[in-house]
Symmetry: D2
């Protein structure tokens, strides 16, 4: 039986000072997140600007996360590369650093050739040779590829493929899959505005970028859901929507980093090609944080 991933995981930001990764600030953030009721952390996810940092920087981040994470906090690392071989190599480098699982989005550069068959072969080969369990990652908004339900079902039969992070947030997709997946397979929503509905329909947890800015609120929503207080949970979920939209769509990672800066954590700048947030976004995010009681 695979370990089931339950609860809220923060998809951690990668802090930079100037254009250099800042492991001290990364550690400090994690130490603060440790105090929250989070199940664990994703390092090198999309929110972590994974595609913008080098392999060596990636290693330093994962080492730092492993050391800083409180006991019992799960560490998941994003390890996808565009080829099967490079993905396996990098996944095992991360496995050697002690991550609990690898989050693997599909190769997407050769889109037209990424048929179900090609993706299946890719993920199975990675799962066969990875020394840690694999969580498949569907994020069509970034990859331009939507994984089919049938592919997920077939992959879920592999003992080393233990979960799905689904970031399109399509609840009907979850509904189509949830009863047909193995009992120990983890369905983790990757959308901060729709994770309560996903939990209601059977998801075991969520991996959330917005959990960097509002970890307590995310954790509380999950707790209320678990306690059967669905109405209260729905109220919190709706409370979260405007902030989630601001930091995921309107202002993106730059906005999310700003939201951390405002709360005394370290957000700092984004790395190019992402652009810094425009001034006008600051007032909007300030207002959203105030409304949520996250700043005075």
């Amino acid at each position: 039986m695979a370990k089931k991933f339950r609860g809220i995981y923060a998809a951690l930001l990668t802090p930079f000072v100037g254009d250099e990764i800042a492991t001290d600030q990364f550690r400090d953030n994690i130490l603060k997140f440790n105090e929250q009721d989070l199940a664990g952390y994703v390092v090198l996810g999309s929110t972590g600007e994974c595609v913008s940092i080098s392999d060596e920087e990636s290693e330093r981040l994962v080492r730092t996360a492993r050391e800083a994470a409180a006991k019992g906090k799960t560490i998941i690392a994003g390890t996808a590369r565009e080829s099967t071989r490079l993905t396996i190599d990098f996944t095992n480098r991360m496995a050697d650093l002690g991550v609990d699982a690898a989050l693997v989005r599909p190769p997407s550069y050769f889109k037209a050739k990424m048929t179900k068959e090609a993706l299946k072969k890719h993920f199975l080969a990675v799962a066969d040779r990875s020394r840690v369990p694999i969580i498949v990652y569907n994020i069509p908004q970034n990859t331009g590829l939507s994984l089919e339900a049938q592919l997920i079902l077939e992959l879920s039969e592999h003992p080393n493929i233990v979960g799905l992070k689904e970031s399109s947030g399509t609840i009907s997709f979850l509904g189509e899959l949830i009863r047909r997946l193995p009992a120990d397979f983890s369905y983790l929503l990757g959308h901060g505005s729709a994770f309560l509905p996903a939990l209601l329909m059977g998801a075991s947890g969520a991996i959330l970028a917005v959990a960097n800015a509002a970890p307590a609120l995310c954790a509380k929503t999950f707790r209320l859901f678990n306690e059967g207080k669905i109405g209260e949970a729905a109220t919190l979920q709706l409370d979260l929507v405007p902030l989630n939209k601001a930091v995921m769509e309107s202002y993106g990672i730059a906005g999310l980093k700003y939201a951390l800066d405002r709360q005394g954590w370290y957000g700092g700048p984004v790395r190019l090609p992402l652009l810094p947030m425009e001034e006008k976004g600051q007032a909007e995010i300030d207002a959203l944080l105030k409304k949520l009681g996250l700043i005075g």
Copy 2:
């Protein structure tokens, strides 16, 4: 205050005998649906193959529905045309036949020109001149156009624009809008696999094609939700997903009609360019109906 549309509305099929519309069979179906706990009916929706029938046929269908619908059942008619003028004309023809509201999807042929400004002007002009309330209809899978949240907000200020049917089923879109809409504005989900999550997040009801095939199940899901039995409601919602997928995606309207035929209602053929269902679909739909206890 606008009347709030609550509960489950069936998006009615249009029955044909041969290639002619069959108002007798249409009436018989409605008489049977009247026994169910449905709030009302949509005539000339996408499920009704609205784009494939003539104005004169449309009138006959609406007349029949008006006569056959039990007292208290709301009748909503799909009335969109590609120009503002033609939409107004047709909406008022339907108004004259006694429909309670008009469901209006955006013009979409000149996609690149259907800016927020153009769509706003269109819907406001229709609302100004329509003799019945307007429900805006977002169905990007058919129109190739997604209505922006901001457009819906601006349209919701018009006293004669009273609701939204949202058929993409995107729950985060609902979350973004629901608290910012007027209290008497109706948010109606148009997706049979995600309406419970939508209700949880604040939708007032749903307009469902699958309600033709499983009206009691849809209505019961709504009732359980209203009684606060969310867990039981979620079970029913998940029960419904495979049938909904079969009749909305895999086999489409031809599959939905078959599902009616199997239950002793009248489904009959689809009109070209829709194709009849392939044989193999029949066994699949039979199995799904059996599993739901809808056939023996």
Copy 3:
């Protein structure tokens, strides 16, 4: 042998006075176009705002065109509807008014169901029953559907399917098809910025919206091409690009109508939901017309 459509066809605008169709102005425009070296006219094409006008208005336009067109000018009418039945009916109404051919875009509302098989059945049924030859119309920018090369090949075997109007302007698509089509099949480009390259690769002509604004220039490009003066033709084609972009993309039909007004023809307003051109577009179009020597 089908008649081969060669040369430049103007996709005629539909003039309105206020919101009413203006057949006098339509006639006057055609009389002026008759003086140009154009092969004929398309009435009720996309440029003619076909989706925004009623059947009865359509008939008046076609009657007017038939009467006003000089002897030898071909009249093609856009006759597509969303169902096979409605398309056949309307096509034959237009046939009865004396059009030489019908231009038929695919049904596209039920996009997900418009498989190659469904589209083939549709077009074959229309061709079987139409009393005039059919020209298939590929315009993915408006329909959201791209016709496959293989579908065109199969349709081209039907004796009453005599041509393709291809408005995506994709030259590789033409290259894929041109040698495999029957000798008497007409490949007509529907893109004003790429018709010379299409002619070079084997197209027999073009149906152009921009020919309303610059008929002589379009006709001359074709003539130079026919005379083997490819370099001079390319110069004219490039001359035409900025105007074509302005009236097809930046400002659309409203811009095209303005370009007619400025030259002493009748453009007039567009019908809603199309919006009037913004002021700033006027100066841009003026400059483009001046540069082409079309206004003083």
Copy 4:
């Protein structure tokens, strides 16, 4: 004045033996290509499976190409990474190996944030710091991003941005740009089925994957064009279309490699996640090569 890139460049395949890059076979292929009338080579392009090979492998390929290329053959290396910083670093590593120019596609993972402003800043930063000239690379089919004409115009003002490789093959896009670019800016088409039309409209050359399989035919098409024999050139261009489609769409890089194997060059296997070509493709490619006289 920047050097103008004229003529046909082969976008070289990366040969593997098993799953290891095969520099000997790569050298042998280049030695054979040297005999053809090609202007140069692109190493690490999409055709070279650039996203599937490591930095160290990339260096070995570029070194090999530099050594093997005949005097006067230009070497262009694909050097894009997802961040500005990583792109600059890798570009200059390649510059140090003696490449003549770098081909840089846009970052595309954070699609929604890759506004014109972000892309402009990215490309300008790369151009500022690159020690070799930059050729911007538009390949929306792989990146999911289309570069705007206006962006290209603005980038073309930078002295170190010297060209565009345009792989969508959209001739109207070329028409929109060609007269507004600096005289020494190179517009290179990246589509084997549409490069003659592009040349006719002002492109200075083409970077072609199909030139691996049919270098002489590509080169001859260019030569005929230059000699003003447009009709003969068009015949060759059309001859090339079926092979180009087979190796670019139907069978992809695996098919292209097979086409080399069949001609006595080295194609070999593709690297996962690309799949080997299915058996049935072999007969089709054999037939196409035979028809072109490339095999007996």
